[in-house]
Symmetry: D2
Subunit: 405 residues, 4 copies
């Protein structure tokens, strides 16, 4: 009755079972990556979305259905133990990264862990050590600094590596948001040190530091820093901070102390000799997700703004000065990084595509048995910088060395 | 052995079977839309990707597997006949739109048809008539002017409707690409009148005209036009235009005549009294996908550039002049159109999201039994404008009225 | 008592006496040019600001003192007759250009005449003929299309002439302002046909047409046009349009008819085969002085916006696509046109510098006895285009040829 | 014979004799200011350009003629002693500022001194003390931080003062140039500590610090800093660094040591509690004169880039988020600072206009007997910050307090 030629398999590549822990913002973004990657790219492995894990049974079941996971778990140890899970994808807050990642690696699973790698250097060191040991058994570990996979920043890295801007003199990164300008924004988990480790520093600064070290291909050797918390008390979440008539005695239970930074400023040196400057903030009114990167070298410069993520600006210092200037490269050409499989030139990508690209690169590394980047060791090195920033800020901004690998 | 709570259904909404004809650029983009829409939005119907259709059995089978369609067909009539297909999505070149769409509607299926609706006014009229008749039986039809679903342009429409820029005086749209600057680009189907209907006019101009009429909520009543084909002979595709040894007599079979326009310029009037200007080109060096829209009204202005698709510029003429200026609205807030289900502010979307939004709106209309927009009647009206443009260009640019609905 | 070395002459070059007619906006800008030019550039002639002419004795005397003219006249015939005036600079409304310019040329004076050259083709022809005759006697005539002297547009002209963007396909110019959005803006002389000739067309369109022909080095051969007057009645200037109690019979004397266009749209062809599109408006809310120019050629493109007048965007189509994009040339380098005598790179110029540059070029031409550009013949050719635009608009937008020189 | 109404005086306001020391870049810019100011603005005093001073008799005579000074002097003490000089304008390198300024003040003259005020805190203190003493005798002193007079930055100051952006949280200023990227650029006076005091820090950083304190209306209370000199040897100016055959022993006389910084990074605190970050560099490839300022407050933000000096970006955090965004204010309206006397909206100004505005404000202050801003005390405070920056950089970036006034 029909020319239906056969019901084709969803993909011809062998499957790799993925289990994900956490399904909030990051879990949703990762799900989009796993669901899409083999529909766009030709891959040696096809991700099978085996199970998602969360503590609330109803909520995790709903999330599984919504996001496309075949099963739901409520205990991450059960998720790790599943036979149909070969790769554990950790999308929880930073305080649980170390325990889950180490357990997964020890259970013989590959691991993708969201950034920042951990909430402390000690945890990160344990994770890097677990990754090193697992590597010998064939398990791979990767940390999710997804912005490396923005095509424009991948192009920037390629151009730096090709020597297009020569020897770096300046790396300049600011990452500005404004969701904490409102003093009535509640005391969410991201504002509590015991869960988040730090504030803008760990959330935004981790990206900034990773990108600096990645783009320059050199570690930061020391930093001088200041941090600040402008709004030190905030309403408790869910609480009715605006309710009247609570009386004097009840007032103190309706707000809580913010125990992380709102903003951090730091300067540093890269091992290559370049100067680096960083500014991260959640109180920069009007800046929504303004990750700006500028690299100045002896032969040229590159500039990027995440709010215009399909563009990379490039200045070629060796060209005729009368025709020189920063050029706006629309990073949508088929020979730009990650663009071979997407749309025609000029048809831009979005934020979530970084997670598709992350999935692509990790699946290829697993299939090939090569080391994915950024490694847990890279994540550890970022953590060391963040710790040095906090140390310097606590010690009158004195220049504080970062232990090198 | 596991807390696996149950294997959840992919989605809890009742399914709606979708069959797609064509799987090239548009088919891939539509597939991404169908695959993603219920993972992001809460919908009353869940699309089931039943079958995809193409003429080459091997290729369509591979495409089905790659893009996520459950079955493959080689005859669109078989696709339409399938019981598991309630909605036919037409992603073929324009010369086959009318035949497929009318057949699908007559077979009791809903239809989504790529733009332009057809290659001629006569075809479009037949399609609009078929849609009108089908509507009485409960079938719905929609034409795929996807750019309406760019959040920034949807916001522009909302602001115009709210009166934020007052009475429109100017609508100014240019859509510039550059892939035909290279004279060696081959004579693809889009450059042949019998397949594509027209060139930049039907491809880019159709979007421009639809957006003008949609954003202004008023039809064009007449146009004055010029068109041009700068490169009139091109190498045949697949042919080795550069190969030697073909003999003198064979040289003329290695290139063919371009029978569509490279560029079209036209001005017009909207029924509201506003002036409209249009310029579309495939030979505008350096412009990759530069759809630029500007609306000037008595109370303000709006401006948009598809190369920066997450931004809408807005000028409020009623504000204090000393603090006035075009403001760059980053259209990523949760109360912006389509943004309630995506990422936090500042995390931009890409080109393909317009197809997710198109799927969302059509599924909701089908579930509610309301008329989706743009309708086939809207598509017909665009076709009438394009025909008037060609008439005017053929008649010394004389102002040529557009028949109104 | 002092090492005062001598009182130096204001400038060592021989003087050329200048007399200026009119001292409103244009007269002030020209005065700034004459006052500054020999302080910045090394010139073969030094302008002596001999006298300024206006009808109101007190006002012209005050203007002379303010703007730096040595004397004031109330009759332009007297100004022309002065022995200390060798160059007559005409800054009056267009209706008096022809009479003054022809008289000045016949009196043996050089002439600089503001744009548009005249209010009609007939007047412009008479002026061009007078200039031709005067040329044989050694008198020179120049029309003040000052935007040619914006360094960025002069660079654009140089790059086109050098073949940097190849053969032109598109010229696209819009010139948008918004001072007539307000319906209470009074009926100034610029809104009355008998004084201004036309509206946005003659004021803004004259610049647009001159730039198109100048940058492309080719005349427009025909146009198709629409014009519109959105606000057809306006309060009389100085009148108390808001006053109450005027009674029914007096109402009609408080407003007057706008007899020129608010906006004009036209498309055309250049003799070179390029397509040209133009849009000029005084009702484009939020656009203050937005003269935008884009040129697309077979080898590249150039783009300019007068609101960012120190920048020229250039796209090189021959470069590696992966590193291509519009580059923002900051036109402030010493080897950019006119920049050899100004400030270091990055220190931008403003609007009025175009008048300094105009003065420089005219003084050099007079000293060298060469023909200054743009000539009265160039101004006449612009006038012919504007007349063809009005003809086309009156004849249903039909394509209307422009008589060539 | 003529209606020549009378030869008007150059200006009706009483004259104020100006004597200028130095006629290089700054002297040319100041001359343009003195020459133009009373032609544009209505002023209570009219500057008479009495004399200019320089060491080379021929060169200073030529400069006087070129720039419009009535006389030339070769000894600044003679200039100060002239009866026709009431105001001494100091445009020399920083090492001579203190001696000239103190002498001029003690001689009963008003003083305008270029920035930075001095090369050391001790000199600046002596100058501030001299200014304080002179003030009692009616003499006024002002330091030439001309960028305060950019209309866009003056508007920013006005908006901050009006509370438009609330309480400041962040001040972020970078000032980037690239003229030292080229390692063959010679060892000019600006690269020698004994003449220039410091490098990018004193030249660019002085502007940055002054603007931070001015815009925020609060002093910096401490800084943490790093500085760097990337190119430590440069060819001597005028020397033939590229010549061959000089022999080994002579090589060391052809280059010299760069004794100032190429770049400086510092963070700080304002007395108001805001965080401040600064980056200045002369090796930022492609940045020509990129002074960028951003202020983030509790109610909004402001952003500025000197390479687009007619624009100020403003974000209003209190507006509806769905219509919010940084708006590009074209600072060319008649009610913007300094714009009441210039051109119509949209007709931009340039770099040199800051010196016209500086002249205007100083002349008005002298006529009114009010204190001009920035005062020598303001200049001293900038100097203290620069000294603290150098101290911090020398002491491992430790946070270094700035002595307050």
């Amino acid at each position: 009755m029909s020319n239906d030629t056969t019901t084709p398999a969803p993909a011809t590549a062998p499957p790799l079972g993925v289990g994900m822990v956490g399904y909030a913002f990051m879990g949703q973004a990762h799900s989009q990556g796993w669901r899409t990657v083999s529909r766009v790219f030709d891959l040696p492995l096809s991700p099978a979305m085996a199970a998602v894990c969360g503590r609330d049974p109803d909520a995790v079941r709903a999330a599984a259905g919504k996001l496309g996971w075949a099963a739901a778990e409520t205990d991450w140890r059960e998720l790790i133990a599943r036979d149909d899970v070969q790769l554990v994808d950790i999308c929880t807050p930073g305080d649980s990264h170390a325990e889950i990642a180490v357990a997964a690696l020890e259970a013989g699973k590959h691991v993708l862990c969201e950034k920042p790698l951990a909430n402390s250097v000690a945890e990160a060191e344990a994770m890097a050590e677990a990754a090193r040991a697992a590597r010998e058994r064939g398990q791979l570990a990767m940390v999710g600094f997804n912005y490396r996979r923005t095509p424009a920043l991948a192009l920037a890295r390629r151009m730096v590596a090709q020597g297009r801007i020569g020897t770096l003199r300046h790396v300049r990164i600011s990452y500005l948001q404004d969701w904490l300008v409102d003093p009535d924004f509640p005391l969410a988990w991201r504002l509590r040190r015991e869960l988040a480790g730090s504030g803008a520093l760990g959330d935004l600064g981790a990206h900034a530091v990773d990108l600096a070290q990645h783009l320059a291909d050199a570690p930061l050797t020391g930093v001088s820093a200041q941090t600040e918390t402008f709004v030190r008390e905030r309403p408790l979440p869910g609480g009715s901070g605006a309710s009247g008539g609570s009386g004097g005695s009840g007032a103190d239970i309706r707000t809580g102390a913010v125990t992380v930074d709102d903003a951090a400023l730091f300067t540093g040196r890269l091992a290559s000799g370049a100067l680096a400057s960083f500014e991260v903030s959640r109180v920069a009114a009007g800046r929504k997700n303004a990750l700006r990167v500028e690299l100045n070298g002896t032969l040229g410069s590159l500039a990027f703004d995440l709010e215009r993520l399909n563009e990379l600006e490039y200045h070629d210092q060796t060209a005729d000065a009368a025709e020189s200037g920063f050029r706006r490269i629309l990073v949508t050409e088929h020979d730009h990084p990650y663009l071979e499989a997407w749309w025609p030139p000029g048809h831009g990508l979005g934020y979530e595509h970084t997670f598709v690209h992350q999935a692509r690169d990790l699946l290829r590394a697993i299939a090939a048995g090569t080391d994915p980047e950024p490694s847990f060791a890279d994540g550890l090195q970022v953590q060391r910088v963040l710790a040095a920033v906090e140390d310097s800020a606590a010690k009158n901004s004195v220049y504080t060395p970062v232990p090198l690998p």
